[in-house]
Every structure is written in structure tokens, then in C-alpha cells.
Amino acid sequence: MLETALQALLIMLDPLRLGFMLVGIGVGIVIGILPGLGGMVGMSILLPFIFGMDPYTGIAMLLGMAAVIHTSDTFPSVLMGVPGSSGAQATILDGYPLAQKGEASRALGAAFFCSMLGGIIGGFILFLAIPIFRPLVLAFKSPELFMLSILGLSMVGILAGNAPTRGILAGALGLLLGAVGGAPAVPEYRYTFDMLYLYNGIPLAVLALGLFAFPELLDLLVERRSISKSEEARGGFVQGFKDVIREKVLVLWSATLGALVGFIPGLGGSVVNWINYGAAMQFCKNTENFGKGDIRGVIAPESGNNAKEGGALIPTLMFGIPGSGTTAILLGGLTLMGVQVGPRMVTDQLTLLLSIIWTLVLANIIGATLCLVLTKPMARICMIPAQKLVPFLLVILIMGSYQSSRHWGDIIVFFTIGLLGWVMKHLDWPRAPLLIGFVLAKSTERYLWISMSRYGFSWLLFPGVIIIGIAVILLLWGGYQLKKRSVKQIMAVEGGHQG
């Protein structure tokens, strides 16, 4: 096995393949920086170029691109409060407040370093996990997948901060918005107003951009300040490195969780980063600064979303089940190059499988290094006054929004959701739960419907369902206890100050 791994590494270190990997990484960095564009756009751009390539070279280019999107998407998340891709939504919660404090370089440094570590750890965990998790993933049916969606939804309660009712209601609003479009059970289109645009539902990218970016742009202009409320830039990327080294257990935990959740087809990157963020709030002590600029709130999702890339490849490569649009296009690309995916990848095509893991590792290292080089100049964006920055950001956001369905509806929805986001922000209604509800709406409904129609109510007694159900209850109970404890701590501190 080790000999094959070394052989795969030598294949990937071929200068030509490294060159194509660099092309992929370059495209991936640009796609990640531009909000609204995701892995599918990158795959679509690169796919025509793989004709005639050998599988190792083609994979180096395609996966080089996919591996670094979740590294460079941190730039807009931290600097503008805009998710660069669906996998960077949770990073905003603490990354943007850090930028506002003038600590953008620290947040970016930590994010890139733990992204790199997460990608590497994820790759190795998967290398070890393939034989163990294969039977487990094959055993997952609709009831277990439904329960995993419920696990994701339980994060709503944790992320609701001091307003649990409002958080749950925001989550319910997200679920309702997620119900727009085609119903999974029957050929019925809901809440579409007979508009063709809404038949496929509201695009996730447009909703995320509107909900988080639009209100920030508006407030930046109104307050006439730069993104950073602080005049001086504190904490360079070296400080970010130190933070990551200090939180090494969190990095390892988040990367492992990210890789394992990525393993499950259909959950996607947008869920992984929320699960990681919520789990970090459970895992860490003194969580009262989460959401206000706690570096651990950047480290957890960023470690997880890069590790998830490796996990997401396993169902694609081992069972031919693409878990997302990106992996679906990758599957098409592999077929074009004559690669037959399936369980034989572990036996007959082990060198190719290991070369994929090496590509992930190398691309993560190169991608993070390139992003680190860009950190200083990009962090200066935070110091530019709003009047000089906002028009350019608005152009990028309109451009990104429009690419979701390439329909005027994207711009109208962006604006409408933006106004909703602005109102929610100023009324102290948490916006993250709305996004989680929206992300999980389709899978929750689909798996519930399949479970009910296939098993009636008997699925409630499935062992997997019971185990995940207990995990949900423990998570909520643990979250409640931690919250109670942190409120007591805050009151004790305030009491001490007053005394």
C-alpha cells in the first residue's frame, strides 16, 4: 500500500501534471473569491480542456480547482461578510466581526492555515476510513438521511444566540422559503405565482448573498465607514497561525467531522460548515464571544469545509453516487477520461485513487500558500472607505447573483431577500438559522416523504434513526446547558464589575 502511495505521489509530481494542477488551482482561487460562483462553474469551465488528457492529469486539474475553492472563498466571507461559496457561510459569523475589529489578516491567516491542515487531515482520514465507512454509508437509507437533516436543523437552536424563539422562527421561515418550487413527492409547484423562474425554487447563492451581503453594503454606506471599524490593523497572519496551533484539537476534531459528514451523499458543503460551527460551540469552553469575532468560529468551519472535499469524493468514486452538482460534473469528466468508478477503485485502480488523495493534499498546500501571499493586499480592502468600495462590491454581487439561474429573477430575489436581511439584522433576528432552514428544506421533505411512503411509521424504530435521534437530543440539551452556564458567567462578570 505504501509503495503504491509513493508511486502515486511520483506520478502527481510530474512537472506537466503539476502545471495543470496549478491551472486548476488558479481557476479555483478566482471562483472562490467571486461570490455566487461555486464548484459547478469551475468544473464547467475546465471540463472541455480534459479531452485527450490521461486520467491523472485531468484529475489534477479538476480536483486542484475543487480543492481550493473552500480556501479562497474565505476572502469575501471575512473581508465583506459575503459567503464566497455555499461552504463559507458559517465563516462570516466570526470572520467578518474580526475584520471589523481590524483583525482581518489574523482571521485570514488562521483560515488558510487550518484550511490547509483540514484538507490534509481530511485526505488521510479518508485514506484510513474507506474500508470502515463503506458498509456504513451503504446502510444509510432515507430515514437515517432524514434524521441527519434534523441533526442539521438542530443547529438552528444553537445558533439562535440569546433569542431562541426568533432563531427557531427564522429557521421555520427558511424551511418555508425552501418549499418554494417543485414538491419532491408529486408533480406540484408551490408558491411560484406561475413564474417559471420560481419553478426550481429560490437559488441558494442568491439567498445567501441577499441575506448577508446586501444589509452590510447598505449599512456601510449609511455609516460611511470602512469595513474595519478600527483605524489600525491588528494581528497579522502569524497571529492566525499561532491561533490554529493553539486550537489544534479543534482543527483535528472539525476536520474529522467535516470529512465524515462529507462522506454522506446529498448533504453538501453548505450543511457541513454549519454542523462544524455548531459542534465547535458545543466542543469549546467560554463560547460567549462566538458570533462576535471569536477566532475559533473561523477555525472550525474552515477546517471542516476543506476536509469535506475528500469525504464527498468517496460516494462519487466508490459507488458512482455524486453527492453534489460539482461531483456530478466530475463523474462525467472521469467517464470522459475512461475511468470506471465503483468499488473496483480500491482494488484495480488503487494508484488512481491514491493520486486523487495526493492531489487533494498538494492542492490544499499550494492553494493555502497562494492565498497567504494574497492576504496582506486583500486585507487592505477593509480599510477602504465605504463610498469607494461599495459600488465595486455591488457590481460583483449583482454579477454573482445573476449566474445562479441567469434570469432577472436572481436580481429581484437578491434585492428582496436583501431587504428582508436588513430588516432582520436591525430587529435582532438571527439570519443564520434562516439559511440553515433553507439549505435543509428540500432534503428534509424528500427523505421524510420517502421514509413515510416506504416504511410508514416503522422507520422511527430503526437503530440508526434512534442513534441519530439521541445525538440530536444530546446536542440540544448540551447547547442549552452551555448557554445557561455562559449566561451565568456573564451575569457574574457584570455583577463583579458593578460591585
Partner: protein
């Protein structure tokens, strides 16, 4: 924001949920369940939140400092929204590239008080980079009333 705004927002959400339930009556049975479950869950919580907000308003009818601060923000917010609306409108009328050039130029001259030639340069560069990026990434642009003229 003021307590009135909070109450109005909750009332709007109540109306939205009520409408969603009403609309769901016309769906096929299997398509009704999901929205109905959400609405059944959300409406009692919204009523609870509404009652809590009304009670809080009665206990503090003057509002707090943030109410005044919010009122002061309204003119500037409307002005900023005007810029955003204007940009969308020009995109709709003349297309993305011309609108982007005009919007950046006007915004930088009027809001950022940058000299007209520097603004013109920034607008030109933005349009060129956007066009190049669009060509490389095969991006699409919003259709305008002028159609293929621009």
C-alpha cells in the same frame, strides 16, 4: 429598531404563514404536508413572540436609544437604496456593461467626491475587467430593454 417595527415584522410573518397555509389548500395532498407542518409549528411561536413584544412595549412605551438612532438612519438608508435601485433600473434599460460604467462613475463623483477623470478611469477599468472575466468564465449578463444594442 422601534417596538412598532418589531410588532409589524412579526405581524407580517403571521400574515405570510397564514397565506402559506391558505395557498397550500390548493396543492396536491402530498405537497401540502411540509408547508402545513411548518406553518402549524410557526404560528403559535409567532403569537407568543407577538404577545411578548406587545408586553415589552407597554412596559417601555418611550422606546430606547436605538429607536432614535434608527429614525436618524432612515434618510441615509433611503438615499443608499436609491443608488441601488437606480443601478438596477439602468441595467434593465441599457444592459449590464453600460449601467456598470455609468453607476460607478456617478457614484464615485457624487458620493466619494473623486475627480471626474479618476472616476471615469475606475469605471472604464471595471467594465473591461468584468467583460474579460465574463469571457473567460463564460458568464451571462442580464438582458436589457435595449436588447442587442449594448
Amino acid at each position: 429598531m422601534s417596538s412598532n417595527s418589531r410588532i409589524t415584522f412579526i405581524a407580517a410573518l403571521l400574515l405570510l404563514n397564514g397565506w402559506a397555509a391558505w395557498e397550500a389548500r390548493s396543492f396536491a395532498e402530498l405537497a401540502q404536508f411540509f408547508p402545513n407542518y411548518i406553518v402549524l409549528f410557526a404560528i403559535p411561536l409567532l403569537l407568543f413572540e407577538l404577545v411578548r413584544e406587545i408586553k415589552s412595549r407597554r412596559s417601555n412605551p418611550q422606546g430606547n436609544g436605538s429607536t432614535v438612532e434608527f429614525r436618524e438612519r432612515i434618510p441615509a438608508t433611503l438615499a443608499s437604496l436609491g443608488w441601488f435601485f437606480g443601478y438596477f433600473l439602468i441595467i434593465y434599460l441599457v444592459g449590464f456593461f453600460v449601467a456598470t460604467g455609468v453607476f460607478i462613475f456617478m457614484f464615485l463623483v457624487v458620493e466619494a467626491k473623486i475627480s471626474w477623470w479618476q472616476s471615469l478611469f475606475a469605471a472604464g477599468i471595471t467594465v473591461v475587467i468584468t467583460k474579460l472575466l465574463g469571457d473567460v468564465l463564460s458568464l451571462d449578463w442580464p438582458q436589457s430593454l435595449m436588447g442587442s444594442l449594448f
